[in-house]
Amino acid sequence: MKVLLVEPDKILQKTYANALESSGNIVVSASSAQQALNELNIEIPEIIFMELELTKNSGIELLYELRSYGDLDNIRIVILSTIPEKEMLNKFGDFKVQFNIYKYLYKPSATINKLIELTK
């Protein structure tokens, strides 16, 4: 599967990319919202894993941007974040429906196996 990984922490970025590549996926990494959009201009992935706490722009802003483009509407988006899901729901209401989020993973309880499972 073609994966876009949007992860601002370089150590985690390497770990997740390593995990996804070792299970046969093609991974493109981005550290910021702008980098992610640049990569999407080059190639559209089948799945996006993204952190919501990005430098400069928030992940929500990136989600607005992603879902505003017709050709990106059907990409699976998996949130992989240090923000607990409940906190996001309290702040933004049912954003998962609004942005068509495939899965929400809270990093402390997410596992590498789960990430790999989602690309199968």
């Binding site: 601002p8 922490d9 370089k10 150590i11 985690l12 770990t15 997740y16 390593n18 995990a19 070792s22 550290s31 910021s32 952190e51 706490e53 990005l54 430098t55 400069k56 928030s58 240090t82 990093k107 402390p108 596992t111 590498i112 196996n113 790999i116």
Partner: protein
């Protein structure tokens, strides 16, 4: 509300930020360990270095709080030795972030009167924040540096492409109670390291400031050299 109460409230919010900030290295260790179970290639050096550094950051935070009202004794210090020792601690972590660490010491200005633990804690706390920020820029170099200025000697940590200014720092300090991430233009983390560094410096009556070193931007602190010490 008196300044003691204000300090207590600020310390509470800083504790929240530090607790939140410590999640990141623990997640790094957790997921590296899980990856190792899958591909038998655990980066044990990375796990060790992250754990080591995080423990030092916790020590810095506790030192900054100054719970036992410790006397931060001032002593004549060789700034170059403080910078080199701090750089040694930061270097391993910088490697894992793909960042090159440099030390730049301009001029021989003799000893300064300061506290080694607080100063090293300041450099390491700020150093980690700048390493995290610089790692996602094109110029992945962080420099620990000193230079002379009109008012004394500045020691700090600098990088080329980080987004940092006095107003961002001021706003970040103001928003510490309101916002989970009070300096998002600078870092994807909550910047707890910067606020811990500030507390450490406050304990030795020094201030944290945005500063420039040649064409680099960063965070530094101003110290006076002691003419008396230079005579010794």
């Amino acid at each position: 509300m008196d300044s003691g109460e204000q300090n207590l409230i600020k310390s509470y919010y800083l504790l929240q930020k530090v607790a939140d900030n410590i999640k990141l290295p623990l997640i790094q260790i957790l997921h590296q360990a899980q990856l190792g179970k899958i591909n038998n290639q655990t980066d044990l050096d990375q796990i060790e270095d992250i754990a080591n550094f995080t423990l030092k950051m916790i020590d810095n935070y506790v030192l900054g709080l100054n719970i036992n009202d410790n006397k931060f004794n001032l002593e004549p210090l060789s700034l170059s030795s403080v910078l080199y020792d701090s750089a040694k601690e930061l270097d391993k972590l910088a490697n894992h972030y793909g960042v090159k660490l440099q030390v730049s010491i301009n001029n021989n200005f003799g000893p300064v009167l300061s506290n080694r633990m607080a100063l090293e804690g300041f450099l390491m706390s700020v150093g980690l924040s700048l390493i995290e920020s610089a790692s996602s820029t094109n110029n992945k170099v962080v420099t620990l540096a000193t230079h002379k200025c009109r008012y004394g000697v500045v020691a700090g940590v600098y990088a080329k492409e980080i987004n940092l200014s006095s107003s961002i720092l001021r706003q970040g300090t103001k928003l510490i109670e309101e916002a989970k991430r009070s300096m998002p233009e600078f870092s994807h983390t909550n910047g707890a390291g910067i606020f811990v560094a500030e507390k450490l410096l406050n304990n030795i009556n020094m201030k944290l400031m945005v500063s420039k070193h040649h064409n680099l931007k960063g965070i530094g602190t101003l110290m006076s050299t002691s003419k008396q010490l230079q005579l010794i």
